[in-house]
């Protein structure tokens, strides 16, 4: 249920919005859209005094913007996890943790995707929030948890630098090998191509 008093509204702000907002600020990943939601909430609050709008209306609207701000930050973590996953897939991590790294990575990422889809579907949940519980967050919480775990256990894996270097060396070796192979192939087939070219020219 939207807060009934300004005290309840600011309790929600302090409990959820402030830590998340400070979090993205600390991580230096602050999107305009989050600021727009906060500005919108402030504007609604001001209307109690500037336009004498009823408390109930002001509180419901401000709460809705604050809640949207939190949900947006949760969603951004899914986007961040996707970005991290795509970066990790470019690295040969098959030998990390005796090959278990890749399996666990895929499993956790698939769980994030599945839970995020579920959470998004239930965003319009009309059940009432209580003082102690915000239903829209119930399904986003595990997603947020998994995104943080993903970053901790996979994106910041202590052996990742080693795997990255190994991947670079392997790619370089493949590149050098392909150049040498094409040079050898060119050398071996040189006479054939010269005679083929001569035959082609003789046609005209």
């Amino acid at each position: 249920m939207p807060p009934k008093t300004f005290e309840e509204l600011f309790k929600f702000y302090l409990d959820y919005v402030k830590p998340l907002y400070s979090g993205i600020q600390v991580r230096n990943a602050l999107p305009y859209e989050v600021l727009f939601e906060l500005n919108a909430a402030l504007d609604h609050i001001s209307r109690k005094w500037t336009y004498r709008e009823p408390d109930e209306q002001v509180l419901a609207k401000a709460y809705s913007h604050l809640k949207r701000c939190c949900l947006d930050i949760f969603k951004l973590q899914v986007k961040e996890a996707t970005k991290q996953y795509n970066e990790l897939r470019k690295i040969d991590t098959s030998s990390l943790d005796n090959g278990e790294f890749d399996n666990r990575l895929m499993k956790l990422y698939n769980d994030i995707k599945a839970s995020a889809k579920e959470a998004r579907k239930s965003e319009g949940d009309k059940r009432f929030d209580t003082d102690e519980q915000v239903h829209a967050f119930d399904l986003w919480q595990p997603v947020f948890d998994m995104c943080v775990t993903f970053e901790e256990q996979f994106y910041n894996h202590p052996k990742l630098d080693w795997a990255r270097k190994r991947s670079k060396i392997l790619n370089l070796k493949t590149f050098i090998f392909s150049i040498i192979a094409s040079m050898i192939a060119g050398f071996l087939t040189k006479d054939f191509f010269v005679s083929l070219f001569k035959w082609f020219v003789s046609l005209f």
Binding site: L14, D15, Y16, K18, P19, L20, Y21, S22, G23, Q25, V26, R27, N28, A29, L30, P31, Y32, E33, V34, L35, F36, E37, R68, D72, K75, L76, Q77, V78, K79, T82, K113, A116, K117, R120, E132, Q133, V134, F137, D138, Q141, F144, D145, V148, E151, E152
Partner: protein, 76 residues
């Protein structure tokens, strides 16, 4: 305190490496200044249409379906 809030606080601490009570206590301005002292200038960017309401964009109007598609793309 609800379980959701307790879990949430733990996750925020893991996510930021900062104590959640500290994050709550500090004013936004103090957090910004402490980052600036470390040489970090707050970077602002847009994540629309991944998040955000309204459909007025710089060069075109984005439908609800387009916004959903964008999210589906990220979740694929």
């Amino acid at each position: 305190m609800s379980n959701t809030l307790v879990t949430f606080e733990k996750n925020v601490e893991r996510w930021t490496g900062r104590n959640v009570k500290e994050l709550r206590r500090e004013t936004i301005e103090e957090t910004r200044k402490s980052l600036a002292l470390k040489g970090i200038l707050i970077r602002l960017f847009s994540e629309f249409p991944f998040i955000g309401r309204g459909n007025i964009l710089r060069d075109k109007i984005v439908s609800h379906e387009d916004v959903e598609k964008e999210l589906d793309k990220a979740l694929r």
